[in-house]
Amino acid sequence: MIVVLCNLRKDGFVVSIIRFKFQRKEALRFLSHLDQLRLFQRAFRRANIEIEHSQGFNPHPKLAFAQAMSVGMMSDEEYADVTVKGTITIDEFMQKINKALPEGLCVIDAWYIEKGTLSLNASMCESEYEINVDLSHSISEQDVQRAIDKVLTQKAIIIERRTKKGKMTEKDIRPFIKTLKIKKMEVSSITFQLTVIYIEQQCVKPMIVLQKLNIKAFILDPTVFMVRKRLKLT
């Protein structure tokens, strides 16, 4: 049996909201959030999957990502919600969109959600990263571990941030860090496993956590090989 979940719009049209999980691989890791958004919009058109548009002056497609992906980041688990016009089965949806997506992006799962479901942005609760940092010179594992311990034992880790208005404010990032472990130690690079948690839709960028370790040998720039391995939703 094929189940299709639909919502009836005010004007009688049928729309379905589909939540999908996708992966971004190395080939497209340097896309910006807006580039990726446009890419998906065009892919949906090519796939002939009709997306609902917002009403008004400048209509835009109803397509929302859980989170803006950083330039350079790869992911095994990303989420987005899209409102599709008419009825479409999940199989058809996945088949069509994957045919239209370029190498480097792939939808791996999808399901219907009901109208009024908690938004993706509000549903995020935990994210696990694997980060491979190149080293400018070799350092010992003990030194790195010591730096991690030192940071994690702090009651508060204060960072200064510039607000949208240009003012400097302080933020404590400690509550967002769940675990930080060394996964693999090599001569020229080091791989971390970092788990962060979302509190009231706020979190900390993985790069900032690594910067806080204050190790000079780390080469921290957008080319750092960072993969989101898991994104847990409530």
């Binding site: 580039d35 919009q41 949906f44 090519r46 009709e50 239209a100």
Partner: protein, 569 residues
């Protein structure tokens, strides 16, 4: 990435079983530094293969001030800059596009120029190359075979001589295979010619990030400053059936949500309003919008504006070109102030709040009152806005006046004319700035230094090759970008090399003078251009081709060609 020609040639080459074509772009200065610091060659985007490993490297010549970039790209691609230094291991350097109409400033660097529509002979050239490559004969043998094709120019096969006053004395082929005159080639019927079914869709948002679709080629308006209007004659229109079918395929394959109907004067397409209405009706429900590039004032109708803004609201760009009726008649622009005001009023009634007006400064016969006329038109546009019913008009108003410095171009009736000096441009710009009183008007002007150099190269000869080479060595690149343009360096080089810039840019030419580009036959005759030049001085208008044939020469150019047979109505 925005260039339509590249989007056409790229799939055209890649459709061949025996050819693959990739893209490469001039890297911005930071990337260039990285390449040079790490001794990496400039590469093609798709496979990252260095430019020097390709069989051909082709450039489009859109603008004179991109010439240094071309030389720099050769250098970065590890290809010898000068043709004479290239060996069997190096690629053949080809170039085409509007600036190929006077290829001489690039004569030392480019092996083969395409004159006219490259689609016609590109396949033939590759076929010749394939055979030649197997023979392992010297490069010159291939070039000799290439010149047998129509529209192919090999600069190494020609030699100029000069008079004592610096003007060209003679320009002759030095190998027997090379023709005396190089005839441009053009596609007869765009309906049956190759057109791609898909376009390259960039990930980042580029300028013109949409389906740019060419609805016709050529223009019969005969504006006397316009080079494209002469170069791309005759006018060849696509039928609305072809247009709609090809657009539908392109939209499906690219996923774009905007179509732009491109041509030299899209408002002149017969039945343009019906075409737009059909497209809007068909795609409106999919939130796909239709736009037109800059419009002739007399061709914009209320209905069309209304159609176009159904989906997404954009500004209106209009090009009166000159500030007074007298000067507009000189340039044969044939539009009136009433046309402009009527169009602007319609636009305001349709809630457009952003009007862009394009002008040129330094046109032949221009006087200060013509400059004042630009400000006057701007003020009248603002007045028209305030005269429009408040309930109807857009809440905000922005009028942008853009005045470019006029650069006389080859193959135009103004090819004999002197460009204004830089001091004169600066004086006129200040004058116009003072004349503009309204705060609703935003006035943009252009760096006159840049226009001066553009004018030098536009009508230059091959004695300028050494200047380009020296400029690239001195670090000049991206000259068209104001923050990169280094006029002082250019000026120094011009002095060091004892080049007379004024000779090229600001000199009034005699009727009989032999021009460096005269060996090219574009179909429109030099006699016709001169006749137009004389009419300009008298302020006499020349009618639109479609209304009356003015005998420009293009009908005699190709045997049996009748322009009217290539109009759709």
């Amino acid at each position: 990435m925005s260039h339509l020609g590249m989007k056409l040639i790229y799939p055209m080459l890649n459709r061949r079983e025996d050819t693959w074509c990739e893209r490469s772009f001039a890297p911005w200065v930071d990337m260039e530094k990285q390449l040079r610091d790490h001794d990496l060659p400039l590469f093609a985007i798709e496979s990252m293969m260095p430019l020097c490993d390709f069989d051909f490297v082709g450039f489009t010549l859109q603008y004179e001030m991109s010439f240094t970039n071309i030389i720099n790209m050769l250098d970065l691609g590890k290809i010898p800059i000068r043709s004479v230094d290239r060996t069997m291991a190096d690629p053949i350097i080809i170039a085409g596009g509007p600036c190929a109409s006077n290829p001489e400033p690039l004569a030392d660097f480019v092996d083969i120029f395409f004159i006219g529509d490259a689609e016609v002979t590109l396949d033939d050239l590759l076929d010749l190359y394939k055979i030649w490559k197997k023979t392992k004969k010297p490069r010159v043998e291939f070039l000799k075979q290439a010149v047998a094709l129509e529209g192919i120019y090999v600069p190494a096969f020609y030699e100029p001589t000069y008079n004592t006053d610096g003007t060209l004395k003679d320009f002759q082929p030095i190998v027997e295979e090379a023709p005396q005159k190089v005839r441009k080639c053009f596609v007869d019927d765009l309906n049956t010619a190759y057109y791609p079914e898909t376009l390259l869709v960039p990930y980042t948002s580029t300028v013109h990030d949409r389906v740019s679709y060419e609805i016709f080629r050529g223009c019969g308006r005969g504006c006397r400053f316009c080079q494209a209007g002469m170069l791309y004659r005759p006018t060849r229109e696509k039928t609305s059936e072809t247009i709609k079918n090809q657009i539908d395929i392109l939209l499906k394959n690219t996923g774009y949500d905007e179509i732009s109907l491109a041509s030299l004067s899209s408002g002149d397409y017969p039945g343009i309003e019906i075409l737009i209405k059909d497209l809007v009706d068909k795609y409106e429900q999919d939130n796909i919008s239709v736009s037109l590039p800059s419009l002739r004032i007399d061709s914009v109708s209320i209905d069309m504006l209304e159609q176009m803004q159904k989906v997404r609201k954009s500004g209106v760009t209009l090009a009166p070109e000159a500030g007074t009726q007298r000067l507009r008649d000189v340039i044969n622009k044939g539009v009136t102030e009433e046309d402009l005001m009527r169009t602007v009023q319609n636009a305001f009634e349709k809630k457009f709040g952003h009007i862009k007006l394009y002008f040129m400064m330094g046109l032949p016969t221009e006087k200060d009152e013509d400059i004042a006329g630009i400000a006057h038109l701007g003020h009248k546009v603002v007045e028209t806005y305030f005269d429009t019913d408040e309930a109807v008009r857009n809440r905000s108003l922005k009028v942008v006046i853009s005045a470019a410095c006029f650069v006389p171009k080859p193959f135009t009736p103004f090819q004999w004319e002197a460009q204004d000096t830089m001091n004169e441009f600066v004086r006129k710009q200040k004058y116009l700035k003072n004349e503009i009183k309204s705060r609703k008007i935003n006035y943009n002007w252009q760096d006159s230094h840049l226009s001066y150099l553009e004018a030098i190269f536009a009508r230059g000869d091959r004695r300028l090759c050494k200047l380009l080479e020296a400029a690239q060595k001195a670090g000049c690149r991206f000259d068209g970008w104001s923050r990169m343009f280094d006029y002082d360096t250019w000026l120094q080089l011009i002095e060091d090399l004892e080049i007379d810039g004024m000779f090229y840019a600001c000199r009034q030419r005699e009727k009989e003078e032999l021009f460096p580009w005269d060996f090219i036959d574009i179909g429109v005759t030099k006699e016709y251009l001169y006749h137009e030049n004389q009419k300009a001085k008298l302020g006499e208008l020349t009618p639109y081709c479609k209304e009356k044939c003015n005998d420009c020469g293009v009908m005699q150019f190709k045997e049996g060609w009748v322009c009217s047979e290539h109009y759709t109505v």
